[in-house]
Amino acid sequence: MIFARAERRALRAAGGIALGFVLAFVGVATAVLLAHADGAGAPLLDAYIWRVARFTLLQATLSTVLSIVLAIPVARALARQRAFPGRVWLLRLSAVPLGLPALVAALGIVEIWGRQGVVNDLLRLAGLSSPVSVYGLTGILIAHVFFNMPLAARLMLAALDRIPAEYWLTAANLGMGGGATFRLIEWPVIRRVIPGIAGLVFMLCAASFTVVLTLGGGPAATTIEVAIYQALRFDFDPPRAVLLAFLQIAVTASLMSLVALLGRPPEEGMTAGRAIRRFDGRRRRLGDALVLVLFTLFTAAPLAATVASGLAADFGRLALDPLLHQALVTSLAISFSSASLSLAIALPIVLVPPLVDAADSGAATRLMARALPTMGSLILLVPPVVVATGWFLVLRPLGETGRFAPAVITVINALMALPFVVRVLEPAYRTHLARTARLALSLGVTGRHRLRWIDLPALKKPFLMAFAFAMALSLGDLGAVAIFGADGFVTLPWLLFSRMASYRTADAAGIALVLGVLCLLLTLPSTAADRRRQGPADA
């Protein structure tokens, strides 16, 4: 019993509202899709759809394999070289792609890997005539590796850092070489976290919309999500969109059950015990330096290109562009409201399950406590583009869909951020509860007062972190907007996308810089904060 009676009542009510809201919102979209699917089935399961489904899985598989395989040497080098100037900055750099809108990253990748990019210049210098084409599978893979390889490397590094310090001392004392160290110490640890990381990366890549939309090349390199968008917005073929939507749900559902079997992605935990010292670092310095320089170039180059070409844009003219003003205001308003909504839904998801710890909770509470966390990740099962498609079909008969777009996009973005928000808040709240709940209850500090004096002050940091992350996610989102995009309704990513599509590259670069900086300002403090300090080896 860690809640007062009145608190329990309020929490149950909040849980009910959140549950009802999410279910209704996703439910309506799905129901409408089902209604449209009537009678439109079999003949549409044509070669095109199968090709799209196959490509979706193919690119996700390749992206995952590449991200993981390339992350292993990076994580090993970072784990081995524990003190070199700039190590902290390298770790920070590896957190950047995660906070960057996919559209901005795609633009940066084109700058580096595109026809006019540095890579092809170098290849031409080396005497190779046929350039690397960034459009199609190659570009999609580069972008997905750009996003996910640093993430995988960070998670692997965290796992390697949890290895007891004595292992490295023992390994040095026994005289283990590089191969034996990898086989006997590092690989067993990395192998244990790979399934979780692979599941996460695979899900992200299978549902990747923006990257494929911007870097995919025609029908040969299209994923289900992009095909939905094209069916709806270009071919005006709702039945096909509906069919694709269900295909997407079927794919994500099977993937999610697979991922559930593989296990959760590992946490970035703290290291305990004595400071880690590696004795195999000295001899591998050259190789590790090479790996880390390549990693830095790969990750930083698109960022640098974005900044460079962004700064070259005519900001004087851009600053006076009324469309940019409108897009900025719309984007900030939508992202702020969607982050607020996301937190409002996340709170019951985080707060209600602990109610069940009390023996006297009823069956309804228990059911709710089980249903709420599932609700939190419903958007992974029914991806944003699919929900947007459903609501597009709901609202179309009512006239101009652009009028409802802000509200629908706000909710969709809130649901998109929900899994992340819950993941930030849940452990923080659990720890907080364990520390304070009984004490607060025994002192009679409950309800409003508990919220004000005990809960909010202690949870301020994770709260702000979650809010900033949700806002950045919404700011950079193109998926829901793409489905609803209409005249008179522009967000920053949508404006950027249309400038790119109309080849106004200088403007696009300027907008990309604005959007990228906004998102990084929101996400970097939290990713920097969760890095533990890497102290020098002590006595």
Binding site: P164, A165, E166, L169, A172, N173, G175, M176, L184
Partner: protein, 239 residues
């Protein structure tokens, strides 16, 4: 007069906040307890001998050979820590086998040696088990079995008994003195317990503030009432 196993002369180690210096000679085959308050430099002394720490000045001579530039694995030293001596994902036999070949390429004869060493420390039949379910004392005995198969003449034990209950401590101490008698190795162990000194040690190195304060026979040390830090260590009020 036996040969010298460990000779530290003018060794200094510098950390950001302090500077430690060590001078001592330990004869071959001795059993030496290393004691002193926390932060006195006991682990650093071991790190210098084992090669985990490179001294700023001075020389480390083990069994007559200068150790400058030698990696930990190239020194005649085996080390056992308080905890985490065993790789948790490798079987007991593999953990011991690493002492014969650090890449774990073992032939039948090597495997036989592993089995014999495990039998010697009383863990025959546990070869295939993982270290996790073993008790703290059993894990330490596996670590000793590894030291046995490595056959290095100097054994460093960094608080080997700290995680054990009193009955196990006595048992471990007995096993250690038997092994030392069988192998003739030189043994240094860090301890916080006077009774470990009484049970196992012939000599005591007492460290304070990063230097070796006392280096004397265990009997003399145990009957001391001064200086105050030693009296405190022995649980006696200063007289």
């Amino acid at each position: 007069m036996p040969d010298i196993a460990v000779a530290l002369s003018g060794v200094t180690v510098c950390f950001a906040e302090k500077r430690l210096s060590f001078d001592c000679t330990i004869p071959e085959g001795a059993a030496v307890a290393v004691a002193g308050p926390s932060g006195a430099g006991k682990s650093t002394l071991f790190n210098v001998i084992a090669g985990f720490e490179t001294p700023a000045t001075g020389s480390v001579t083990l069994l007559g050979k200068d150790m400058a530039g030698r990696d930990p694995a190239e020194r005649p030293v085996s080390i056992v820590f308080q905890d985490n001596n065993l790789f948790a994902h490798l079987s007991v036999a593999d953990n011991v086998g690493l002492g014969i070949d650090p890449a774990l390429r073992l032939d039948a004869a090597a495997r036989q040696r592993v089995f014999a060493a495990l039998a010697r420390v009383g863990l025959g039949g546990h070869e295939r088990r993982l270290p996790g379910p073993l008790s703290g004392g059993e894990r330490q005995r596996v670590a000793l079995a590894r030291a046995l198969v490595r056959r290095r003449p100097i054994l460093l034990l960094d608080e080997p008994f700290a995680a054990l209950d009193p009955a196990m401590r006595a048992e471990m101490a007995k096993l250690l003195s038997e092994l030392r008698a069988e192998t003739g190795s030189t043994m240094l162990f860090i301890t916080h317990q006077p009774e470990d000194i009484a049970r196992l040690a012939e000599r005591v190195l007492f460290l304070e503030d990063g230097a070796i304060l006392l280096d004397e026979p265990a009997g003399d040390f145990l009957s001391r009432r001064a200086p105050p830090s030693v009296a405190r260590f022995l649980g006696r009020g200063p007289v």
